[in-house]
Amino acid sequence: MAELSYRDAVALGIAQEMRRDPRLVMLGEDIAGAGGVFKTTVGLLDEFGPMRVRDTPISEQAILGAAMGAAMTGIPVIAEIMFSDFLAVCWDIVANEMAKSRYMTGGQVTIPVVIRTANGAGSRFGAQHSQSVENWCMMIPGLKVVAPSNPADVVGLMAAAVRDPDPVVFFEHKSLFATKGEVPAGEIVDELGVATTVRSGTDCTIAALALMVPRALEAADRLAEEGISAEVIDVRSLVPLDTQTILGSVSKTTRLFTVEENPRLCGWGAEVASIVAEEGFWDLDGPVVRITTPHIPLPSAEALEDLALPSVERIYETIRKNLD
């Protein structure tokens, strides 16, 4: 067990898998010599060499096309898209090619690609470098989607994503890179599609993802001071989605709050709310409440960006009022 930053956990997770599978390669902009613009790939060039850790031009379609073509001919690939916002410039390859080719060809091709990308707000980068776009990916049949909230999950879910034969979009949260956590020694292999209950409680369930998980936990601490016992679920994987953990929790607590960084419309919490409304309705003692970023492009100024994202205060206040 060692304390590690989320940032270093990314490199550790990749290195673990590249040591295990000598075929595995990675490519992306500034990932090799520079160690990544977020320093998440530091050390990989030295250990694995320039043929397995390759810098590319600023050509996102070429990056993901190369990843797909290599993967479908026997070479698993980790591809980095520097900011998740940039998925929009190569969306054809993500949404139309990688996601659909297996189905369209009657199962003839397999595409073991992990698309790693830095997601989310908190860096004051404005509307084109701060978005939470996990919901873009979630709505495309054929893509798996994960978003870890802590260093141990980064390593374990990276392994799960790499070992999964289907395309996986792996969201690393920019505002979590500097955070630290305990990471067990030795190989860590997690599982896609498993949510974790990170705090047990009896009065309400809070489902959160990535940066919203530590905020939900802090809000739960404050609610506890008021005598409200909140259960916090780290959703971790949007596709596959662990609905049973959420439904099971709601059957115990009778209330559900989702905390989502994405803009309001079609956020992952909307799907969770609809599943709970259909399948857990008789367990509920009150409405499902979604706590989200408003449906706006993200502003850059500190004061406005902070106002936009669900804060500990907003999570706490919303839940307290609703449980009154």
Partner: protein, 357 residues
């Protein structure tokens, strides 16, 4: 090239000056191509022609749903390149991919059945005309949104390079593709990594419905851009299988020697419109007529006769191809509609479609 926006002749396409084909280069008969290779290309072109004519007839009978994009008139390109490939090379095509799939040896029956949307189709009825794929024949897919597959072909070439094989990837695309960003990303990427990939532009003079010269900054939309990526300018008569084969052989050798990518522009013409919904009326009549005269298939027939092959041998090939197409049609027509179970199969590699527990 500058254009006068006000000139009606430029935009009423039927009034435009016809773009006429160059005459057949008679010296191509003297190229050093073995007779058995030529016979194989004769047969190959016959297969593509007869297959697609049948596919067209089946549309008219309303047995083929959706859309489809035929290569009638363009067969020499798929045939010449197909002939030059090794069995383990990789092909990538656009929605106009019937010819490229068949040229790699994919069986005619399952390909025809796919056009008819049957369960015995090569994609089990789930992809259709625009997505023909036969991985076991090296045909890695038909990609219906142009551009992406040039980047994907790079990946297959990169994989061959890493695995240390001498495989080459080939991406076929139309003239319209040269104006999409992915074309330029792919060429630069292939050049900087010295990838064993060949980009083949089938320039049939029209991006869908619009003359390509109206929407391109250079007269030869692929070849004139080669210099930007440090590549040679290669233009070939796409209606002469021998010329295509000759060029294909040389670019394959270059790729296998590890000297990197090539870009080939093959000049050709569609006999029909862009898709089955398009009668192609925007083309000057004189132009269509001249290109029908430059049909690659009768030309090749004449060349084979001149090379001493007997008419009876050629008609025997035609006859046997006709029988294969007939059998493929029967195979397709006898296929059942895909069963309901197919709907939720093969989203994921575990065979299923589940996204939750």
């Amino acid at each position: 090239m500058s254009t006068e926006i006000g000139d009606p002749g430029l935009h009423d396409y039927g009034l435009r000056t016809a773009r006429l084909p160059a005459p057949v280069d008679a010296s191509n008969a003297d190229l050093d191509i073995p007779l058995d290779v030529r016979l194989s290309m004769y047969e190959g072109q016959q297969v593509l022609r007869q297959f697609e004519k049948r596919a067209y007839d089946l549309f008219m009978e309303n047995l083929v749903k959706g859309t489809s994009h035929l290569s009638l008139g363009m067969e020499a390109i798929a045939t010449g390149f197909g002939q030059a490939m090794h069995p383990d090379d990789y092909s990538f095509a656009t929605y106009r991919g019937h010819a490229h799939t068949i040229a790699r040896g994919a069986p005619l029956g399952p390909v025809m059945a796919e056009l008819l949307g049957r369960e015995n189709g090569i994609l089990k009825g789930k992809g259709g005309s625009m997505h023909l794929t036969s991985v076991e024949h090296g045909m890695m897919g038909s990609y219906a949104i142009i551009g992406a597959h040039l980047c994907i072909a790079n990946g297959a070439a990169w994989s061959a390079q890493m695995r240390g094989t001498d495989q080459v990837a080939v991406a076929f695309f139309g003239d319209g593709t040269t104006n999409i960003g992915a074309f330029h990303e792919a060429l630069n990427f292939a050049a900087i990594w010295d990838l064993p990939v060949i980009f083949v532009c089938e320039n049939n003079l029209y991006m869908e419905y619009t003359p390509i010269d109206l929407v391109s900054a250079v007269p030869n939309p692929a070849a004139d851009r080669a210099a930007a990526y440090g590549l040679d300018r290669i233009v070939v008569d796409g209606n002469d299988a021998d010329a295509v084969y000759q060029v294909a052989t040389s670019v394959f050798e270059r790729a296998r020697r590890g000297e990197g990518p090539s870009l080939v522009e093959a000049i050709t013409y569609r006999h029909g419109g862009h898709s089955r919904a398009d009668p192609g009326k925007y083309r000057p009549a004189e132009e269509v007529e001249a290109w029908l005269e430059r049909d690659p298939i009768p030309m090749y027939h004449q060349r084979m006769l001149a090379l001493g092959i007997a008419e009876s041998e050629l008609s025997a090939i035609q006859q046997s191809v006709a029988e294969r197409v007939e059998k493929a049609t029967e195979f397709a027509k006898q296929g059942a509609a895909p069963s309901a179970e197919q709907l939720l199969v093969d989203v994921w590699s575990d065979g299923g479609a589940s996204w939750r527990n």
